[in-house]
Symmetry: C2
Subunit: 336 residues, 2 copies
C-alpha cells in the first residue's frame, strides 16, 4: 500500500527538482535530459512509485466534470466559447461548471480552489486582466490536473493553448483602413501585459509599417472598455480632428468611441472610419453597423475541450503541448 502514497511531489522534493520535471521525465518528454530521466526513473523505481497504477486510480475517481474559469460571462465572445465547450463536452459525457473571475485576480485564485475542491477532471481558463502572478496555475499543473488556456493565455505556464489569430486580425483590420485611404489611425488598445492586447497592437503596427507609415505614440491610447472611453472622452475628442480612422481592440470600445465622436459632430465613416474586433452581435446593431474582426469563440471552445478531454482520457501518455490558432476574418460593414 505504502508505494501508492508516493507522489510526484515526493519525488520532486527528494531530488530537488520541480514536479513538472519529474512528471515529464517519467513520460519521456523530449525536453528533459537523458541524465535527468535516468535519475528520476531510478529513484521512482527505488521508492516503488507506480505511475500506471496511479493513473488508473485517478481514472477510477473521475468526476466527468470539467471546470471553466472566464473573466466576464457577459461578453458574447465568452458565451460562444462556453457553447463550443458544452457542445463537445456533453456529447462526450462530461458536464461543465463555470466560474467567473470578474477580471479579479483574487477571485481567479478562489475559482481554481473551488474547481480543485470539486475534483474536476480538467480545467479551461481564460485569465483575468488583473492577474500578474501565475502561481495558482502552476499549482494546478503540479497537482496533475490537465489545464488548457483559452484566448487569454499565461506565457509563464507551459501547457496547451487555444488562441485567436490576434496579430493577423489586427493586421487585416488596420490594413483595411489603410487600403481605403486612411492614414492617421488611432489605436484604442488593451493593457500591454495582456498577451492578446500586445499581439493586436503589434498587428496594428505591422500594418502601418507595410504602408510605410511612421507610428505616432500619441495615436495609441490604452482604453479597452466602454467605461474607459467615457473616462477618456476629452482626450479622444482632442485627438479627433487629427485622425481619419480608429482600430479599437474590441467592439464595445469601438462603438462607444463612434458614439462620442458622433455626438461631437464627426461623421462615421466619412470623417473617421472605425473598426472593432470580435464581431459581437452589437456590431451589426450599432449605427452605422461596425466593421470588425470575426473570431470564432464557438470553434475555440470546441477545440480547447477536445484537447482537454484527450489528455484526461490518456493520463499516462506523453502528448506534446500544443498551441492552436483559430483563424479570423474581416466583416466589412458601413463604419468603414
Amino acid at each position: 500500500m505504502k508505494s501508492n502514497l508516493i507522489s510526484i511531489n515526493d519525488i520532486a522534493r527528494a531530488l530537488g527538482i520541480s514536479p513538472s520535471t519529474v512528471s515529464r521525465a517519467l513520460k519521456d518528454h523530449p525536453d528533459i535530459s537523458t541524465e535527468t530521466k535516468r535519475i528520476v526513473k531510478e529513484y521512482a523505481e527505488q521508492v516503488n512509485y507506480r505511475p500506471n497504477a496511479l493513473a488508473l486510480s485517478l481514472k477510477r475517481q473521475r468526476s466527468n466534470t470539467l471546470g471553466l474559469i472566464i473573466p466576464e460571462i457577459t461578453h458574447h465572445f465568452f458565451s460562444s466559447v462556453i457553447s463550443g465547450i458544452e457542445e463537445l463536452a456533453y456529447a462526450k459525457g462530461y458536464r461543465l461548471i463555470i466560474c467567473q473571475s470578474n477580471e479579479d485576480y483574487n477571485r481567479e485564485v478562489i475559482n481554481t480552489q473551488v474547481l480543485l475542491d470539486n475534483r474536476v477532471d480538467g480545467i479551461l481558463i481564460s485569465i483575468s486582466k488583473t492577474t500578474h502572478d501565475h502561481g495558482h496555475f502552476k499549482d494546478l499543473i503540479d497537482s496533475g490536473i490537465p489545464l488548457v488556456f483559452l484566448d487569454r493565455v499565461s506565457e509563464e505556464v507551459e501547457t496547451d493553448r487555444v488562441v485567436t489569430a490576434d496579430f493577423e486580425g489586427a493586421l487585416i483590420a488596420t490594413s483595411h483602413l489603410l487600403e481605403t485611404g486612411r492614414k492617421r489611425i488611432l489605436h484604442l488598445a488593451s493593457p500591454k501585459h495582456l498577451h492578446v492586447g500586445r499581439l493586436r497592437q503589434e498587428g496594428y503596427l505591422k500594418a502601418l509599417q507595410n504602408y510605410g507609415i511612421e507610428p505616432d505614440p500619441d495615436l495609441i491610447i490604452q482604453c479597452d472598455t466602454r467605461l474607459e472611453v467615457y473616462q477618456l472622452k476629452e482626450e479622444i475628442l482632442r485627438i479627433a480632428p487629427k485622425i481619419d480612422g480608429i482600430f479599437a481592440v474590441n467592439d464595445f470600445t469601438a462603438i462607444a468611441a463612434m458614439q462620442i465622436l458622433q455626438e461631437n459632430g464627426s461623421r462615421i465613416p466619412e470623417d473617421i472610419a472605425v473598426t472593432g474586433f470580435g464581431n459581437d452581435p452589437i456590431a451589426s446593431i450599432a449605427y452605422p453597423p461596425l466593421t470588425t474582426v470575426e473570431q470564432s469563440g464557438f470553434e475555440m471552445g470546441r477545440q480547447a475541450v477536445e484537447i482537454l478531454i484527450k489528455r484526461i482520457e490518456n493520463p499516462s501518455t506523453f502528448i506534446d503541448f500544443q498551441t492552436r490558432v483559430i483563424p479570423v476574418s474581416l466583416e466589412k460593414r458601413a463604419s468603414t
Copy 2:
C-alpha cells in the same frame, strides 16, 4: 450513534408521507395540520431523530459553495443577476459555481445532479423554456437543499422566489404606447407556459382594457427571439400596415422587429412605435435607441442570494417561503 442515521426520508417512508411534509411538520410549518405534526413528532422522538444534531452536522459539512443554473449566460440580464449574486456571496464567504441549461430540460436535470454531486450548500435556478416536468426541483427540495427561484420560477414547487414585476412592466410599456396615441399594438410574446411570458401578456391586455380597446388575437404572435422574428418575417410584414405600435417581450425581439420593418420601409417611431423589455445594453445602441422596461438583474441576484444564505445559515429555523418582486421602470428613448 444509530439515532444520527435516522433521516427525514426514513421517517417519511415509515409514515407514508412526503419528506417535505415531515420536514415542515418538525419545523411547525403553519400549512401542516396539528394532527400530522403530532404524529411526525411522536415518531421522530420514538426513533430518537435529532434535528438539531443533524443541522449541526450538516453545518459542519458546509462547502461554502452555492450553485446557480441559468438558461443562457449570453443574456445581459442573467449576467447582471450573476454579478448581484457574486457581490453578496463573496462578501459573505461563499463561492459560486454556474451551470448553463442552454434552455434545454435534459441539461437542466444534469445540472441539478452536478450541483448535488458537488455538495453545494444551496441552489439558485432560473428555469429553462423547455422545462415542463418539475420533478428534479422536487428532488432537490426533498434532499433538503435550500432552493431559490429567480425570474423564471416553477409554480409547482413551493420555495422562495425573486421575480421581476413583469405584469407592471408590461402594463407601463403598453400604456406608454397608448398614451402617445397608438391604438393597434402588436404583442410579440413568449410561450404561455413561461410564467414570465404569461404575466407580460396579461400586463399588455390590462393596458388595452384600461384604454377601452378590444384585444385582437391576430395581434398577439408567439415570437421571443431574434431568430423567430426572421422566421416569422412574412407574417410580421403582412401585419405591419395594420399596426402603429409593438410591445415585444424582450429587447432582442424588439430590435430585430425594428430592423425588418425598417428594411421594408416603415419608419420607427413615426409609423410604428416599438418598446422592448429588459433594458439590455443593446437597447441604447439600437437605431433608433429602444424604449424599454428596466429590470434590475443585479438587485434580483443580490436579494435571491440573501434569502438563500439566510436559509443555509439557519437550517433548523422555520422561515416562511417568500416571493420578492423587484420593481421596474420605463426607459423612454427614441423608438416611441
